[in-house]
């Protein structure tokens, strides 16, 4: 019962936080609500025995990506934004599309059944520690995409510099 209550708390708070993110007029507020959301997501990861990912979530998402957002929000002139209309004219269309997708998703998930289980039982992960377990998968089977991920970050660096540089 306790885990269910725990999950219920996380679920409700996360839904509320996401609604806040997409509805706030001031982007700074959205960023801050998002920060709160990311901490909750990290909490949920802990709850799912994924300590390493929880740490990455906090460090990378909350610590790096959101700071970047905040930075840009601050840099841009936002007075106009606070005054302007926050939703597009066609917002009912967007909401109906979303609502329909949600309904269809639930119809689909109704038919869900779990696939065959693998070898990393919770006990094994606990014995090995999550960091070590994920590391052993990441550096053996997934070594090549890991390298590719590093290249993606390289592209991001090159791209960001080329694009954001001031013209001489």
């Amino acid at each position: 019962m306790l885990p269910k209550i725990f999950f219920g708390y996380f679920a409700v708070v996360m839904v509320v936080l996401s609604l806040l993110i997409v509805t706030r007029k001031n982007p700074v507020h959205s960023v801050l609500w998002m920060l709160a959301l990311f901490f909750h997501i990290a909490g949920l990861y802990l709850f799912l025995n994924a300590e390493f990912l929880a740490a990455v979530q906090v460090i990378l998402y909350a610590g790096a990506i959101l700071v970047l957002f905040l930075f840009v929000v601050m840099m841009l002139n936002l007075k106009e934004e606070v005054m302007g209309e926050r939703f597009g004219k066609e917002w009912p269309v967007g909401i109906s599309i979303g609502a329909f997708i949600l309904v269809l998703f639930f119809f689909t998930i109704n038919k869900f059944s779990q696939g065959p289980t693998g070898q990393y039982t919770i006990e094994r992960i606990k014995a090995e520690t999550h960091t070590k377990a994920i590391g052993s998968v990441l550096y053996t089977e997934f070594l090549l995409p890991f390298e590719i991920a590093s290249l993606i970050l390289l592209i991001a660096i090159v791209g960001a510099i080329v694009l954001a540089k001031k013209t001489k």
Binding site: Y61, V72, L76, R86, G159
Partner: protein, 100 residues
């Protein structure tokens, strides 16, 4: 134990909120944030699946998704800065130079 369906449900709701935010907001920054929201909802479901399937590959994919999200955010914001410098605009409604 929490049923796996609950996680899928939560993830779906968050994903749809992200989609809706993406579809209705005018501010590009918030649109980018909605995308982050969608990606995070996928991450939640992947971690949950990974946990229930007793298989770590889902979590490894999450790892890649976070990397890509960071890269996309960086470049998106860089283009935004460049655009802002040229046009003083952060609204999508002002990006209609090309159409037809």
């Amino acid at each position: 134990m929490v049923p796996l369906e609950w996680y899928i449900g939560l993830s779906t709701v968050l994903f749809v909120i992200g989609v809706v935010g993406f579809l209705i907001r005018r501010n590009i920054l918030i649109m980018l944030m909605s995308i982050e929201l969608m990606l995070n909802s996928v991450n939640i479901s992947l971690v949950a699946f990974s946990h229930y399937l007793q298989d770590l590959r889902g979590q490894v994919l999450v790892f890649f998704i976070i990397t890509v999200a960071a890269a996309e955010a960086a470049i998106g914001l860089a283009i935004l800065i460049s655009l802002f410098r040229n046009k003083e605009a952060v609204h999508t409604d002002e990006m209609t130079e090309m159409k037809g």
